[in-house]
Amino acid sequence: MTAAKSDVRQGTLALMVLKTLQTMGALHGYGIARRIEQTSGNRLAVNYGTLYPALLKLQQDGYISSEWGVSDNNRKAKYYKLTRAGHKQVEKEVGEWEQTNAILARFLAPDQETQ
């Protein structure tokens, strides 16, 4: 792993996967990984050792479903897509994430408390 790229922060990968699937529709594991890396402006490196278990966990939770299909260049691939519960979950998590961000931002803003 190159030093410039950082690993995906714990707990955020699931949301990234969900959001990616929401934007892109059905996508295979490789596609999800590439898309996340692209979206991050190549600042993130997705580790497959974390991606596959994360996909499995989202499936177990019922947020995504999978199905074998054929890719653009005619390869057999496993496609993931959001379920109805998954769509709701994205909205929910995005909301929560934004709220957390907003709170964190106040903490991290320089010397806000003393002013």
């Binding site: 497959y48 939770d61 019922g62 390869r75 691939a77 496993k78």
Partner: protein, 890 residues
């Protein structure tokens, strides 16, 4: 909901692993291909594209691994692996497994059995009763502080006045003669208040129970009967039509109205009753008439009480005491100085729990000792096996197994042993469950010999097995895993690295020896006591005497009819061949019951203010002393002419004379009892009455022909020349023939009858000896294990010694010396411990000091001999080590 769903899906992941693995491999493969394709499209050569893709992907195996963890439930899967592997390892070291499981089963079985007895007799004395800890016994106290049953009127007053007691009921155990002209059977039952079952919270298995109004009002008006479940099954084949059936009890017709539930055996701990009748029927059934219940002096009933919710026994006791004080004041003519108290069931003076308390606590202690030895033995075995498997552990650590995983593996194996051990223990316990009957004192009421091995006992056994196995295993597991892997690798898990574990194993063997010494010394002391007690001469001659008890209460004889019956039966028996003498009495000395007493007044003797003048007595027929070979020192025996029309006479024993008459002739002295003055006509030798170990007690005899009580017992004694068995069947037949409506029971040899008097010593000595033997065996096994293992470990070293010229006999002596050192230390510690412990059993000993030097020496020598034996075989093996083989072996 989501979590549940996820767990379902993960649990499903435990199955069809191959299909799922293939699917993951396919997915990874397809994603890799897409990556390579992209790289090629970006202008890389195919080889470079593949290399970059693989590099980017990272470790495929590690991805698969973390995927698998998410897919299934890792803990469960590794547990399954551990169990699988554990079973294989246990199978591989079969001898370890067998010894460990057997040892554990033995310890658990013994403890579970004793636990089930303790529970049945002390902890849960009234099975089937709801909230049994609120049920207590009410007992009347005499002015000198001894306990007595309670009169019906006192019971009624206390019941109506005590507010802290929710309900109260009388119970009176009675022998009932159930049946018709052709066959009469003695059934033990209780006469109880109408609210008895309601108070205990018991529901009928069939029919109904008494209703309060129905039975507590009028006397002799409600001939109703409730039978036990087992009586229902044995006598009515569990026929539901039994309700409404008519049954004759003591010749009176009764109607069956209900069947008690299966687990209920009546209100006395350890005894089992088969019938319940209303207390208001007592006067009719006991032939004492209706006055029985209206006389405050007729103290004959046990009283059970249920405390009101939230009331402690102490508070209720204070209230009972204060009301009893009121009664003592208001009814001074009958109750002056009397009091009453409440006792928890296990302290109640009725039932057999009292006589079992001593033996059971000794037994429990002995069982605990055995369990400790089992624990040490198991730890020893585990330790040995762990040392032997060091190589395996090193290898697994080196291959990346975590320490916690190793410990888990080890504990899984311990649990497997524990599971097998608890199964074995339960099997032993259920095999032994019937033996309680064998150890219980033989009382006239059938004892509850069958203690069920139920959930409670199972739980106890399993908990015990797991606790022992895990305690034994955990220390070992921690030691194994605590080692540094590199350190272990350096020594290659070879024997030399385990000096520490050898020391630990020696220590365990030492403590086993010490515990065995304590157990054996206790057993030795109890055996010596038993021997001393059985050497005591009872003062009468028991061999070749058979006895039969008859129940006359059902026959409703008057005194004259009863006398006619005695004589008829006596003459019939005397005509039988081989019969030397026939006599009868109302009491068998040294049997379980204490017999009866009479308050005496002796002319010329002024008792001390608090002196107890209740003197125990027997009613006997002429010829009794001759038959029992009790010598008459002074005066004469009773004659057949000493009857109702003749002046009343008594015969007293020597102790009676010593205490109340002193010097001078006793014959001719006047004694007052039964409202009449009696003349002493004879003095006989002292004989034992209650216990073999008692000092001489003052005792007296009165002729049965002059004193008649409808409720008294009747015992026929027959001395024969032949076998006891022949006499027993003869007695049985003749008694039946004399009057078929009179139940005959407990026909047996006098020797068997008085063996009850050895009961406490017999049960303690017998059981503790067995447990002591088990302890000795286990300790010997433990020592043998340590020595054999140590020799096996040192084969290499011994080979070198021999190769370097050590004499074989020196090697032999070295190993033997090592075993002896362990044993001697154990014996020394054990002797000291025993010296401290045995003083606690002084109450169970007779004629032997708790620190009896002979027993201590004998046990020490025995243990030393056993220890030498246990080290002998390993020492022989060490001596015959072939240096070449030993050296090549490594």
């Amino acid at each position: 909901m989501r979590t549940l769903r996820a767990w379902f899906s993960r649990a499903a992941g435990l199955f069809q692993k191959e299909r799922r693995d293939r699917e993951l491999a396919d997915e990874i493969e397809s994603n890799l291909r897409m990556h390579i394709d992209d790289n090629v499209r970006a202008g890389m050569t195919p080889a470079e594209a593949r290399r970059q893709a693989l590099l980017k992907f990272g470790s495929v195996e590690s991805a698969k691994e973390s995927y698998r963890d998410q897919r299934g439930i890792p803990l469960l899967e590794t547990l399954w692996q551990d169990v699988h592997f554990g079973l294989r390892m246990l199978r591989k070291s079969a001898s370890f497994t067998i010894v460990a499981v057997l040892t554990l089963a033995l310890g658990v079985g013994a403890n579970a059995t004793v636990f089930s007895w303790v529970r049945a007799l002390l902890l849960n004395p009234l099975p089937g009763v709801v909230a049994a800890n609120h049920v207590v016994a009410l007992e009347t106290l005499t002015p000198d502080g001894s306990w007595e049953p309670t009169s019906y009127l006192d019971f009624r007053d206390l019941r109506d006045n005590c507010k802290l007691v929710e309900a109260m009921s009388v119970t009176k155990p009675m022998a009932l003669a159930v049946g018709d002209r052709e066959s009469v059977e003695r059934v033990w039952g209780e006469a109880v208040s109408g609210n008895f079952f309601e108070m205990l919270g018991i529901e009928p298995a069939l029919g109904r129970f008494f209703s309060t109004g129905e039975v507590d009002q009028q006397q002799s008006a409600h001939p109703l009967l409730i039978i036990s479940h087992s009586y229902w099954v044995s006598h009515y084949h569990a026929d539901p039509g039994v309700i409404g059936a008519s049954v004759r009890i003591n010749h009176f017709p009764y109607t069956v109205i209900g069947v008690a539930p299966e687990e209920f055996h009546g209100s006395m701990p350890g005894l089992s009753f088969d019938a319940w009748v209303p207390a208001t029927m007592y006067g009719q059934l006991a032939s004492t008439g209706d006055n029985t219940l209206l006389d405050r002096k007729w103290r004959t009933f046990r009283v059970l009480a249920r405390l009101a919710p939230g009331v402690s026994i102490g508070e209720a006791r204070a209230e009972v005491e204060s009301h009893a004080k009121d009664l003592a004041r208001d009814d001074a003519s009958t109750n002056e100085g009397m009091s009453a108290t409440l006792l928890p069931m296990w302290e109640s003076h009725y039932g057999i729990q009292g006589s079992m308390l001593g033996p059971l606590s000794i037994l429990m202690t002995a069982c605990g000792l055995v369990l400790l030895i089992v624990c040490a033995n198991l730890a020893n075995l585990e330790l040995a096996r762990a040392t032997a498997r060091q190589k395996e552990f090193v290898l697994r650590l080196a291959l990346g197994a975590s320490r916690s995983r190793l410990i888990r593996q080890f504990l899984t194996e311990c649990s497997l042993v524990a599971a097998a051990g608890s199964l074995g223990g339960i099997a032993i316990a259920s095999w032994l469950k019937g033996t309680l009957a064998w150890f219980l004192p033989r009382s006239s009421v059938p004892a509850l010999g069958h203690v069920p091995v139920d959930i409670g006992v199972l739980f106890f056994a399993i908990t015990l097995a797991f606790a022992v196995a895990l305690v034994a295993g955990l220390a070992t597991a921690l030691r194994v895993a605590g080692r540094k892997a590199d350190e272990m690798l350096k020594t290659g898990g070879r024997a030399s690295s385990s000096a520490h574990s050898n020391r630990l194993r020696g220590l365990l063997a030492t403590s086993e020896m010490a515990l065995a010494v304590v157990a054996m010394i206790s057993a030795g002391l109890l055996l010596e006591s038993f021997r001393n007690v059985s050497k005591i001469r009872p003062g009468f001659d028991a061999p070749h005497v058979a006895v039969a008890q008859l129940d006359l209460s059902a026959a409703s004889y008057n005194a004259q009819q009863a006398n006619n019956f005695y004589q008829r039966l006596q003459q019939k028996l005397e005509r039988q061949p081989g019969v030397n003498a026939v006599s009868y009495a109302d009491y068998v000395p040294l049997s379980f019951s204490r017999g009866s007493w009479e308050k005496l007044q002796i002319r010329g003797y002024i008792p001390a203010p608090s002196e107890d003048m209740d003197i125990y007595r027997s009613l006997i027929s002429p010829g009794y002393f001759n038959l029992m070979k009790i010598s008459i020192f002074e005066g004469r025996d009773f004659r057949s002419s000493d009857d109702m029309d003749a002046p009343p006479v008594l015969i007293v024993n020597q102790e009676f004379v010593r205490r109340f008459i002193g010097r001078g002739t006793a014959v001719g002295r006047q004694v007052h009892g039964w409202g009449n003055w009696f003349t002493i006509v004879g003095v006989v030798a002292d004989s034992k009455v209650f216990r073999l170990t008692e000092p001489p007690v003052p005792y007296f005899y009165a002729p049965m022909r002059q004193i008649y009580r409808p409720e008294m017992g009747l015992v026929f004694f027959v001395r024969t020349e032949g076998s006891d068995n022949g006499a027993i069947s003869m007695l049985q037949n003749e008694a039946r023939a004399a009057d078929p409506t009179i139940p005959v029971f407990d026909v047996m040899s006098l020797n068997d009858e008085i063996s009850v008097s050895l009961f406490t010593q017999r049960i303690s000595a017998g059981l503790v000896s067995v447990l002591g033997g088990v302890a000795l065996l286990l300790a010997a096994l433990g020592l043998f294990g340590v020595m054999a293992y140590s020799v096996a470990q040192r084969t290499n070293e011994i080979g070198i010694r021999i190769a370097l010229g050590a004499q074989r006999k020196h090697v032999f002596a070295m190993v033997l010396g090592q075993g002896t050192r362990v044993a001697l230390l154990g014996i020394a510690i054990g002797t000291l411990a025993a010296w401290a412990v045995t003083r606690l059993m002084i109450g169970a000993l007779y004629g032997v000091m708790p620190s009896d030097p002979l027993t201590f020496c004998a046990v020490s020598l025995l243990l030393l001999a056993v220890a030498l034996l246990a080290s002998y075989v390993p020492a022989r093996r060490a001596m015959s080590v072939d240096p070449m083989v030993a050296l090549k072996y490594e």
